[in-house]
């Protein structure tokens, strides 16, 4: 009897979370996978089963490979720099120097601002001729106007910078919390033993921060697929898809081109990619992590 009741309690406690998980995660994922094998319904023509046709289209779709490549560079550009920057900023504002509150606010502010609004501000920074960057360039160095968003060689880098600026402050908060939970006795012991600051950072702080690093880098990887709001405002994926990312392309395909079947196929690719990355990160990193 007692066993049975515990079993019921268990499910009762689980059910709210499970309900949401199934409604918003598992059911959509499953139905996306199913839709990826069907054609796009149009008017009164219902979706029909077409097997792997969508996947064949995908392999031949130049734009898909281009945005996948862009996404790779976007991830490579944003993840290490934003995580590294977050750590640096956290170490900085964790020290007992003057003005730390001010710098904490300054570093965290980008996180609080909505990305769409921020993108509009950056759009002004980047505007050729009278934008902030060009005013500096011509005012201080007499350099010609530069069209960062309108050039396929620089457009992606320009949106990467905005993403880093946006997320570094957010990750800093996690590092800051982790730093503050490290017992001061470790620092004192290190001082007594005559360890240098760098040695203390390398052998004590960084290993103790590893769980946070794992958490932050998983988030950074997810963000590198998820942060596309600013692209709508700044480049619309252009020029010629130079700054388009996978999620942006999925949105375009689904809600601009109304190719919902093909969009489901693209989404499946993204699901697989994210799963591989998340599993990989947990297995690779986990061995190197010391949990207190």
């Amino acid at each position: 009897m007692i066993h049975r009741r515990e079993w019921v309690y268990g499910w009762l406690f689980l059910s709210p979370a499970l309900l949401f998980l199934f409604t918003f995660t598992h059911y959509p994922a499953a139905s996306t996978i199913i839709s990826s094998f069907f054609s796009t319904p149009k008017g009164r023509r219902p979706a029909k089963f077409i097997g792997l046709e969508n996947y064949q289209t995908l392999i031949q779709d130049e734009v898909f490979w281009k945005v996948l490549g862009n996404n790779f560079w976007f991830a490579l550009g944003t993840i290490p720099i934003s995580v590294g920057l977050a750590l640096l900023m956290a170490l900085w504002v964790n020290s007992h120097l003057k003005g730390t509150t001010l710098s904490r606010i300054a570093f965290f502010a980008p996180t609080v601002l909505p990305l769409i609004a921020v993108a509009n501000i950056w759009l002004f920074f980047y505007t050729p001729g009278f934008g902030l960057i060009d005013q500096f360039r011509s005012g201080l160095f007499g350099l010609p106007a530069i069209n960062l968003l309108g050039n396929p060689d620089t457009a992606l880098a320009a949106v990467i910078v905005v993403a880093i600026w946006k997320e570094a402050g957010f990750f800093m908060i996690f590092y800051l919390a982790a730093l503050q939970s490290i017992p001061p006795v470790l620092r004192e012991a290190a001082d007594v033993e005559g360890a240098s600051s760098f040695y203390y950072l390398r052998k004590i702080l960084l290993p103790l921060l590893m769980p946070t690093t794992l958490f932050v880098s998983v988030n950074a990887v997810i963000n590198s697929f998820r942060l596309v709001d600013h692209i709508f405002v700044m480049t619309d994926g252009g020029p010629d898809n130079a700054s388009s990312l996978l999620l942006f392309y999925i949105y375009e395909t689904a809600f601009k081109y109304w190719q919902t079947g093909y969009a489901a196929t693209l989404t499946v690719v993204m699901l697989i990619l994210l799963s591989i990355l998340a599993i990989g990160q947990f297995f690779l990193f986990d061995r190197k992590i010391h949990y207190q």
């Binding site: 149009k42 007499g142 010609p144 106007a145 309108g150 619309d236 252009g238 010629d240 601009k256 109304w258």
Partner: protein, 428 residues
């Protein structure tokens, strides 16, 4: 208790008051509208809707602001797929084929019964109707329509030794005058360009000005064939590329739409091509004397039309269709149309609107508003095909690739034509 009693009394009172007219035949309409050019448009649509509802017992219109043009068509299609479409919506005229393909809209022809209705249907400028009709049927009624025009800075023209009242009339003159208008600072950097033709987001629209001037159309009126690889199209694209690359009268790379009026006000360009939707903006903010003229021509004058039409959704009751039709007729009457044009700068789509006293007073005070109307004579349908967003998306990518120099003009256009062909062959 008290509250609910009060409510009951109110209910009964209102039932008694409206009893006769509302009886069983109250018609509710949902009406989606987009706003592409700022606040005045939304307020004006709301005010006009309220005015209509107040004058017509038994009709309720819920005017819903649905975001940008893109958002509006997305919302309308999503709602239709969910089985709850609006009865009426303003959507980009070029989305007509998509809406037909999704089988969500109906032609106006079945609603046109009396001679008055027929005369009304024929009262719109033909340039605007090209995007509203296909297969001999009318699916859209022009409402917030526009066309691109040339704005020029008269002070800059005078400074460059040009006649401030004569804008370039041809492609060659654009280059000649442009070269005189380009100004460089002490470091040799360009501080003022000759001309600015924005190309971000949807470069096809202004480019269509160039192709029209080169006497070529981009797609047939059935919306199932494109002519992107026509040599005349390539010639037009080469001209656009050369403005930056060869003649150096326009800034290189993709040029942002949003920053274009500002660049004009700041004197960073002496001329700009942009929508008539910017008339009011330029009038308010340009710190110098400016002119508004027709786009320069080459083989002929030419410009695309643009903007939104009224569409009636098929999945509505007969009463709703009749009411929606009546509302569209009412709002396109000269009096309402004039109010709308004066408030927003959109081109009034009927000749008789321009004959109203309000419009005459408006254009007497602000003559540039007439340029858009005069250009309609040379205007053609905006590029529109089945799967329009996809096909124009492909074309936009090709234009961007040529403008930024990643592909040659011929290569980019041939590729775009091939991809468009693959999509459109199913629709023949």
């Amino acid at each position: 208790m008290k509250l609910s009693q009060k409510m009951k009394v109110n209910c009964i009172a209102s039932l008694l008051l409206t009893g006769v007219s509302a009886s069983a035949s109250a018609v509710d309409l949902e009406f989606y509208f987009p706003v592409a050019v700022g606040g005045a448009a939304a307020d004006t649509i709301q005010a006009l809707t309220d005015e209509y509802v107040a004058a017509n017992d038994g009709v309720n219109i819920d005017a819903v602001y649905a975001g940008s043009y893109g958002d509006t068509v997305t919302k309308a299609l999503t709602a239709s797929r969910g089985g709850k479409p609006p009865q009426l919506s303003v959507i980009l005229s070029v989305d007509m084929f998509t809406l037909i393909d999704e089988e969500v809209i109906m032609p106006f022809d079945s609603l046109v019964k009396t001679d008055d209705d027929k005369a009304w249907l024929e009262s719109f400028y033909p340039a605007f109707m090209e995007n509203s009709q296909t297969g001999g049927k009318t699916y859209g009624i022009p409402f917030q329509r526009s066309t691109p025009v040339l704005y020029w800075n008269k002070e800059a023209f005078a400074e460059a030794g040009l006649d401030p009242d004569t804008p370039p009339a041809t492609w060659e003159e654009t280059i000649e005058m442009g070269k005189k208008l380009v100004k460089k600072d002490a470091d040799g950097n360009v501080s003022r360009w000759g001309v600015r033709i924005p190309s971000s987001g949807f470069p096809y629209w202004l480019f269509q000005g160039l192709t029209t001037q080169n006497d070529v159309i981009l797609a047939n009126s059935d919306g199932n064939e494109t002519y992107f690889d026509d040599p005349k199209v390539a010639e037009a694209l080469q001209y656009l590329v050369d403005l930056s690359m060869k003649h150096e009268v326009m800034a290189p790379g993709i040029i942002e739409w949003g920053a274009t009026p500002k660049a004009f006000f700041e004197g960073q360009t002496a001329m700009m091509w942009t929508s008539t939707g910017n008339l009011t903006n330029v009038r308010k903010n340009a710190p110098f004397d400016f002119g508004v003229g027709l786009l320069p021509g080459n083989k002929r004058r030419g410009a695309p039309t643009g903007g939104g039409n009224f569409f009636i959704f098929a999945d509505s009751t007969d009463e709703q269709k009749a009411a929606a039709f009546d509302f569209v007729k009412w709002i396109s009457q000269p009096a309402q149309s004039a109010k709308w044009t004066i408030a927003t700068g959109y081109v009034a789509p009927r000749a008789d609107t321009w004959e109203t006293d309000e419009m005459k007073a408006y254009t007497a005070d602000f003559a540039p508003a007439l340029v858009a109307r005069d250009q309609l004579e040379f205007a053609v349908a905006e590029l529109s095909t089945y799967e329009n967003q996809r096909v124009t998306g492909i074309f936009n990518d090709a234009l961007a690739a040529a403008i930024t120099g990643t592909k040659s003009v011929e290569e980019a256009l041939a590729e775009a034509q091939k991809n468009a062909e693959a999509i459109l062959k199913d629709y023949r």
